[in-house]
């Protein structure tokens, strides 16, 4: 005789099986080559900075979950991504205590107070970096040269700076290609940019490895291809027009794409699903805003780099893009509804 009670559930009874955790995990895998290259080019400094940021992020998430008596959410890997991205966007000789503060801020202020995963308005890693930039403007713009001979044996003194003390930089140098261009008018060759022979934030130097990680995620359907394409295309077009207009004054569009954090931002930060729009057209608009703002800040702004603020601004408009840009529903004519 058959068992009398059965389990019931609402249809559909089969699911695709890919989980949010799988997506997050794959983003981590795609970031690992960037991390490895970063350690390869900046040595122990980069290792320490990235590790501190990531470890602090995960710890903060766990601690906050415990504090609010919820089951810990560290195993969804989103805190790891936040930590890695923060670490990768900091200078290699960044004082560790500052990275520690950044990790806490990213998770606590960038994500947790909004309600955790899925509710954050801004990309948490960029919130942390923006706070660090405001609090420590010198430390976050003091760059460290890549491929020093002793990078695997010695650690910069600035790394160990005690909290609230002035960091002591031993190897002064390393203007980033963007600041070199902006303040001294020196351009860097495309090959050096593409293969990461330059100084900059730990993870932003090698454009090719970043792009490969993005292609992996897009191929696995875990990232919207529209965002990086829209960001890079709009940045390329605007800087291209300016370059055609006056090639003495404005840098080439290829230089603009490969230098600074544009590649890292377009592939890994602007594509944060939570803080980006949801419709295809919305994604194009969002990406376009980031690309154009970045170029505008780089060329006419006071800073040499503008990716972070562009993405944060676009994050802020993203919910509004979603409320204005909607798909036309099947069998209806309405396309846009006034807010």
């Amino acid at each position: 005789m058959l068992k009398k009670t059965l389990d019931i559930s609402s249809s559909p009874h089969i699911v695709k099986g890919r989980s949010t955790e799988d997506i997050m995990k794959n983003v981590v895998w795609a970031l690992l080559p960037v991390v490895f290259f970063s350690i390869y080019s900046f040595g122990l400094n980069a290792l320490f900075v990235i590790f501190t940021a990531t470890f602090t992020s995960v710890l903060t998430e766990h601690f906050l979950c415990n504090l609010s008596k919820k089951e810990t959410t560290v195993n969804d890997y989103s805190a790891v991504i936040t930590g890695l991205l923060l670490g990768l966007s900091l200078p290699p000789s960044f004082p560790l205590w500052m990275a520690f503060v950044g990790g806490i801020i990213g998770i606590a202020l960038g994500k947790y107070i909004f309600g955790g995963l899925g509710y954050n308005v801004f990309n948490p890693a960029l919130v942390a970096r923006a706070v660090l930039q405001a609090a420590f403007p010198v430390a976050i713009t003091t760059w460290h040269p890549a491929f020093l001979a002793n990078r695997f044996s010695t650690i910069s003194g600035s790394i160990y700076t005690w909290p609230f003390m002035e960091p002591q930089y031993d190897a002064v140098s390393g203007a980033t290609p963007l600041s070199a261009f902006k303040f001294d008018g020196i351009t860097t060759s495309t090959a050096e940019l593409a293969f990461g022979q330059i100084s900059g934030s730990t993870g932003e130097t090698c454009a090719i490895i970043i792009a490969l990680g993005g292609i992996y995620l897009i191929a696995r359907n875990m990232m919207s291809w529209r965002i990086p394409v829209a960001v890079l295309l709009s940045a390329f077009l605007l800087s291209g027009v300016l370059y055609l207009f006056n090639s003495e004054l404005y840098p080439s569009p290829v230089f603009m794409l490969l230098s600074g954090g544009l590649m890292l931002g377009a592939v890994y930060m602007a594509t944060d699903m939570v803080s980006s729009p949801i419709t295809p057209l919305g994604l194009w608009i969002y990406g376009g805003i980031i690309g154009i703002l970045t170029i505008v800040i780089r060329i006419w702004g006071g800073l040499s780099e503008g990716v972070m603020y562009s993405i944060l601004l676009a994050n802020a408009i993203s919910p509004h893009i979603d409320s204005v840009i909607k798909n036309r529903v099947y069998g209806t004519k309405r396309k846009v509804k006034a807010v």
């Binding site: 019931i8 249809s11 009874h13 699911v15 989980s19 899925g118 099947y330």
Partner: protein
């Protein structure tokens, strides 16, 4: 591929779940044994329940009328087996509600010949006579909706049906009944089409079949009678192509306006098994007594396609085919839109297209949900082009009216594509089903107040 979607011969969005049809699509339809007792609920179609015209203790012949239609949107019910009416009492139905039902005990040694009625000739009868004949035969949509077919075929005043689409898509995974019907009952299908053409006054018929059933498409193409304006269209495999709206868009490139029926764009869509049933029953004036059902799923031993008498208790069916000890879920219909039944005491009804048995380890759904990360997978899946992510968030805030007024909730037909793709495992369709019920209830209440 998302990059190159030119919407040719298909509809926008949709999903590709594993088809899981290989285990039964090669198995010919087999006759299922009669159960000792048949239980017939009176509410087994959309519309008013049928009204019983027999009494307890009465002996009935197979094919005899047991209950007449309860109104225009209703159909009669015929005896699936010769026997004695044991009891008239409340019986459980698939959705959990109780319905009046007939307990019919089969004569063990009867020949079970079917009673003949008034034959209807497709050439000499008027459209009205054919529609009446379809209603009298108790025919409802056999694809799963169980909507009375004669109502659907009635072309309203001022409208004209230009194209009749025969739905042989069967996009639900596991189900292979329409596939087998197309391979084995081509004569019934073409006879049925003759009736349908006359009833709707149509000049053109397109049979839509998905590319995973090319053998059926070729078989039908080979057997098209010379005097019938029928063409067969093979469409790329995609769920939910079997939905009327999606099928009309895939074949004709037209969209059915929101809240309207296909006749709005000059189309009537009829399921292929329903067509075959019309072609089989009307020439003899008989009523529907049985239907083809796919029994499949990882928990079933003798998988296959069976002709099963309507009213056969589910328990009897599963005992006959043999199921795994660890049976945990049984679905009536396909895995995407079918209903999980709560007990085995319900019986097969006219709308049952499949019986799927899953054991604990086969159920891929997990209870763990994550917050919505706005990945947009649901937006890219929804064939109606809704924003399920936003609707899901609104449902959590119980903003049901806003869901309906600003986000086209009522256009959702619960195909399940959004829930299928959601990486956060949010039960979106369940939210929407609930929201739709609540919105409908509120509207009815509002109307009542205005009327009062």
């Amino acid at each position: 591929m998302a990059f190159f979607n030119f919407h040719k011969n298909t509809f926008k969005h949709g999903i590709h779940p594993p088809e899981s049809k290989d285990e039964t699509n090669g198995l010919p339809i087999k006759q299922f044994p009669f159960p000792p007792v048949i239980i017939l609920p009176m509410a087994q179609h959309i519309g008013a329940p049928s009204q019983i015209i027999v009494r307890e203790g009465q002996e009935v012949h197979r094919g005899q009328l047991l209950a007449k239609a309860g109104g225009y949107v209703s159909v009669p019910i015929h005896a699936p087996v010769s026997g004695t009416i044991r009891k008239i009492a409340n019986v459980p139905t698939i959705l959990g509600k109780m319905s009046t039902g007939i307990f019919l005990e089969a004569f063990p040694f009867s020949t079970q010949e079917v009673l003949e009625g008034n034959p209807i000739n497709p050439d000499t009868s008027t459209p009205e006579e054919i529609l009446q004949g379809i209603q009298d035969a108790g025919i409802v949509g056999l694809g799963g909706a169980a909507f009375p077919t004669h109502v659907k075929l009635k072309v309203p005043e001022g409208k004209k049906c230009e194209t009749l689409i025969i739905n042989g898509i069967e996009c639900e995974p596991y189900l292979t009944t329409d596939h087998r019907v197309m391979l084995e009952q081509e004569n019934d299908i073409f006879t049925g089409i003759k009736y349908l053409l006359k009833a709707t006054g149509t000049q053109r018929v397109i049979i839509g079949i998905e590319a995973n059933k090319r053998d059926a498409a070729n078989h039908l193409k080979k057997h098209i009678p010379k005097d019938l304006p029928v063409s067969v269209r093979v469409l790329p495999v995609k769920y939910p192509q079997g939905a009327e709206k999606m099928l009309v868009t895939a074949i004709l490139g037209k969209e059915i306006p929101s809240g309207k029926l296909p006749i709005e764009v000059g189309v009537v869509v009829v399921n292929v098994a329903t067509t075959a049933e019309i072609g089989r029953l009307l020439p003899h004036g008989q009523g529907i007594q049985e239907r083809v059902i796919t029994i499949a799923g990882p928990g079933v031993k003798k998988k296959g396609n069976y002709t099963i008498p309507i009213g056969t208790p589910l328990r009897f069916v599963l005992e006959q085919v043999g199921v795994d000890e660890e049976i945990s879920e049984v679905y009536m219909g396909g895995p995407m839109m079918g209903v999980a039944v709560s007990n085995l005491d319900i019986s097969i009804v006219k709308g049952t297209s499949g019986i799927l048995v899953f054991t604990k380890k086969d159920v891929s759904r997990t209870p763990k949900t994550y917050p919505c990360i706005k990945c947009g997978a649901c937006v890219d899946a929804c064939p109606i082009l809704l924003n399920p992510s936003k609707l899901g968030i609104l449902a959590k805030f119980e903003a049901y009216n806003e869901m309906a007024s600003d986000f086209n909730l009522m256009d959702c037909f619960e195909c399940g594509s959004c829930t299928y793709v959601c990486p956060s495992h949010i039960p979106l369709v369940q939210y929407f089903r609930l929201a739709k019920r609540i919105v409908r209830k509120r509207e009815a209440e509002k109307k009542e107040k205005v009327d009062a």
